[in-house]
């Protein structure tokens, strides 16, 4: 193994990337874990906003619908980087004001929580649109049937609408998840130690820019490709029981 690395001239890179202290591998992996935590949290938070927002847009009153339209339009027109800064300052300001009003001192907000809050709000705007389209694609007769049997609204949502819309929503949600993982890199600019920032710190203190940036790129790529496989499973599962288009033709 070492001989192969030696002949390829990669021994130095392997040493830099090793997991034990002289190498920076452990730092990169810690950054990756942080990135994934933030991406999971933000995706989940965004889905929650998206579900309620989609219901609000479809069945809400005129005021709620207009407010949601403003939210989705503004979030989708302003760069994520600017939104992250605004939401970050607003969030920390609000929490500090609340804590000082309650008599506590300044609170240090953990990077992961702040990242989830900031990216979740951004993701929410996109998931509203994805889920709204998916709910609209469910044949209305199915939801009406549930209502006609006297199913309460929450149960209708849980038992009928969500399972039926899953197959329509999965491609869009897969895309959103990929955006979430890539947007975590933007948090590097606010100073959270996720993968991209850890990489930059490692690269600038060892001057081995190519090694570290390529390694981080490979890690992101692995995450992307694995997510692709997982979402393909989920889509297959969500489509179970539906006639496939290909088999119809033969």
């Amino acid at each position: 193994m070492e001989l192969i690395l030696e002949t390829l001239g990669l021994a130095e890179s392997a040493q830099l990337l090793s997991l034990s202290p002289p190498g920076w591998g452990a730092n990169l992996l810690r950054g990756l874990v942080n990135s994934l935590k933030i991406a999971f949290g933000a995706f989940g938070f965004g889905l929650l906003i998206g579900l309620f927002g989609a219901y609000g847009k479809l069945y809400g009153g005129p005021v709620l619908r207009d407010l949601l339209a403003i939210y989705t339009t503004v979030i989708r027109a302003v760069p994520e980087l600017v939104l992250i800064l605004i939401l970050y300052y607003v969030g920390t300001d609000l929490i500090n004001k609340a804590s000082s009003a309650l008599g506590y001192g300044r609170i240090e907000i953990s990077g992961v929580v702040a990242g989830i809050w900031v990216l979740g709000i951004v993701q929410g705007a996109y998931s509203i649109e994805v889920l709204r389209g998916a709910i609209q694609a469910v044949p209305p007769g199915q939801i009406e049937a549930a209502r006609a049997f006297g199913m309460p609204p929450i149960m209708t949502m849980w038992r009928v609408t969500i399972p039926a819309m899953m197959s329509f929503a999965t491609p869009g949600l897969a895309n959103l998840w990929l955006i979430a993982t890539k947007d975590t890199a933007l948090l590097a600019i606010v100073g959270f130690s996720e993968l991209t920032l850890e990489t930059r710190q490692a690269a600038s203190s060892t001057r081995a820019y190519f090694t570290f940036f390529l390694a981080a790129g490979a890690l992101y790529l692995i995450v992307t490709l694995c997510s692709g496989v997982v979402f393909a499973w989920i889509e297959k599962w969500a489509r179970r029981g539906q006639p496939s288009l290909r088999e119809d033709r033969t």
């Binding site: 939104l83 605004i86 590097a188 940036f213 490709l225």
Partner: protein, 256 residues
């Protein structure tokens, strides 16, 4: 399109009044005294943002056409590299790509004496060529995928008709295949261009002074946090609106 009549509903009038009050409050009680001092710099930054956006979308699109073609009809030795390129670009964060090019290439080039003595060196020492390169490659990666779908989506009969008239392959591509493919994806292109606009502030991290960098500078010089950011968000919303309008007009013209 929202018409005037649809705006004249009671709850919308109330909302507009509330919004006007909010704008008035912002104008009166927030600090805007820094604007005159930073206006020239901001205009320069705005210009940088716009030309970087325009240049990278045009170059990126020109690169996306061969990428899409290679994936749609190319032989395997062209389609596999094209697909790999698109996967890599779409699978890694743009910020990482920008930093890889700027810090990576930027630290590599000075080691070669012939690059340092070449005529390109004054440019290679600046940040913007790396920003343009990274954004172009990114746009090409995303658009290559879109164009692949567009090229395979053009009706086969059209191409067969052209062939049966004895049209040469390049003429056929220029006159029939490309225009139809582009027309079909114009709405997607508009959306992607807005995504590209939203990617431009990342170049501020490698010392290109765009409009975002100007707002950061105001923030660090004067310690005013919200006002520059709000104005910045407004500027981006206006540019995004203009792009949407331009693409709509273009679509209407083409659809005739």
């Amino acid at each position: 399109m929202t018409t005037l009549k649809s705006l004249m509903v009671p709850h919308r009038i109330v909302m507009m009044l509330l919004f006007a009050a909010l704008v008035l409050w912002c104008a009166l009680s927030l600090r805007w005294d820094w604007i005159p001092k930073y206006a020239p710099l901001a205009l320069e930054g705005l210009w940088t943002t716009i030309w970087i956006l325009a240049l990278t979308t045009v170059l990126g699109f020109l690169l996306a056409v061969p990428l899409g073609l290679a994936q749609a009809i190319g032989p395997w030795y062209l389609s596999i590299p094209a697909r790999t390129f698109c996967t890599i670009i779409r699978g890694t964060p743009l910020l990482l790509q920008i930093w890889l090019l700027y810090y990576g290439l930027g630290s590599l080039f000075p080691q070669f004496p012939w690059i340092r003595s070449s005529e390109l060196w004054p440019y290679l020492r600046q940040a913007w060529p790396y920003a343009v390169l990274a954004l172009t490659l990114s746009y090409a990666g995303y658009e290559g995928e879109v164009m692949r779908g567009a090229f395979s989506g053009v009706a086969k009969g059209q191409l067969e008709a052209a062939k049966s008239f004895g049209m040469r392959r390049f003429t056929m591509f220029r006159r029939i295949w490309l225009p139809q493919a582009v027309r079909n994806v114009l709405p997607t292109l508009g959306g992607e261009t807005i995504l590209q606009l939203k990617a431009t502030p990342l170049v501020a991290t490698i010392t290109v002074i765009d409009i975002y960098a100007v707002s950061s500078r105001v923030r660090s010089d004067t310690f005013i946090v919200y006002e520059p950011l709000l104005l910045l968000a407004l500027v981006y919303m206006v540019i995004a609106g203009l792009i949407t309008l331009a693409f709509k007009r273009f679509e209407n013209q083409v659809a005739r």
